[in-house]
Symmetry: C2
Subunit: 204 residues, 2 copies
């Protein structure tokens, strides 16, 4: 069972680190064969960063992601640039504060306020990619949360570990409470207004 996962966003969002943590967790603690990669063009300096993980029960043959089962797009540019590559029936995870303009995909689409959580609640913006991994762990069953937590404990500097683990838990909780987005349906409850109403304008 080959499974392709693509992470895309801007350089500073930690897309490559997230994909390496996911790859390590899959290989070290979930028993998969894994290839993790990223391609850079000369335009990479200001541009969109994207990283790939391929999981398989047997050795990974072709090492390139062609049509990801799971796509993580952390801003609008990444969504516009890579969204069409998503495999029909796949899963798209995006951030509702950073990607404002969603359209219908032949896929489950989750649009969660992960960036809002790490900036306003946890107050550690660099933990954004870890919150994303938490959401992914809640949405995709292949790599268990404990496998990811184990890699976080090994990789995250001690002084930031608690907040990163919290970001991870909050990402999982966002996923647990989420309904797939559908065009025309308000897409989530804002953190600030939880329980008070719905809000579909993308800033949540």
């Amino acid at each position: 069972m080959r499974k392709e996962i693509m992470f895309a966003g801007s350089g500073g969002q930690g897309v490559i680190t997230a994909s390496i943590i996911y790859a390590e967790a899959a290989a070290l603690y979930a028993g998969f064969h894994v290839v993790q990669s990223q391609a850079y063009g000369p335009e990479a300096r200001g541009g969109t960063s994207n990283a790939h993980v391929i999981l398989n029960d047997i050795e990974v043959g072709y090492p390139k992601v062609t049509q990801p089962h799971v796509m993580v797009c952390l801003n609008q540019e990444a969504l516009d640039k890579f969204g069409d590559k998503l495999r029909p029936g796949g899963l798209l995870l995006t951030d509702c504060g950073l990607a404002h303009s969603l359209r219908q995909f032949d896929a489950r689409v989750y649009c969660l306020p992960m960036y809002e959580v790490v900036t306003q609640e946890i107050r550690l913006p660099i933990a954004f990619n870890i919150c994303v991994l938490g959401a992914l762990a809640g949405l995709v069953p292949d790599v268990q949360p404990d496998a990811l937590r184990e890699v976080l404990r090994r990789r995250v500097p001690a002084r930031h570990l608690d907040k990163n683990l919290l970001a991870f838990e909050r990402g999982m909780a966002l996923a647990a409470g989420a309904e797939p987005w559908r065009a025309g349906v308000p897409r989530h409850v804002s953190l600030g207004a939880r329980g008070e109403g719905l809000n579909g304008n993308g800033k949540g």
Copy 2:
């Protein structure tokens, strides 16, 4: 002009980070198209880590390293496991304190006391991979030292930047003064005994 570079060593040696820094420098500041990747098997937990960089003037086609032009092996196990993959006429860089048993390759072989430099002189063992990048910059012309320094300035935490830049410079200096290793010829002057004699026993 496609060029394949392989980094191999144990997990804690920073092999993946080194290859990502090299890939970023090549793409962002040297104008190459680059693919960076690593494969993990389920045995990865205790094992040898290896990471790949492919540079090209045009978009990288096949994304897998098959016969690296440049191989960096940071311990004996990596050398034993991957040495035979080196392209004839290529370049092998290894550490003379960590890989004790060298054999003849159809390649230029450099065996430098990089680990000794970072542990005994700079006293920051985690800068080992950066010292290795310095040696590589001195031995391989494709990616200029300034391109690598630029990525280090962006990536290394401020409190460790000076020592990492020093490790990089010392790696370059080791490369500048090095002769290729040949079987039967003592291979380097130890740091401790510099100017006093030659030493071929691998702890040099």
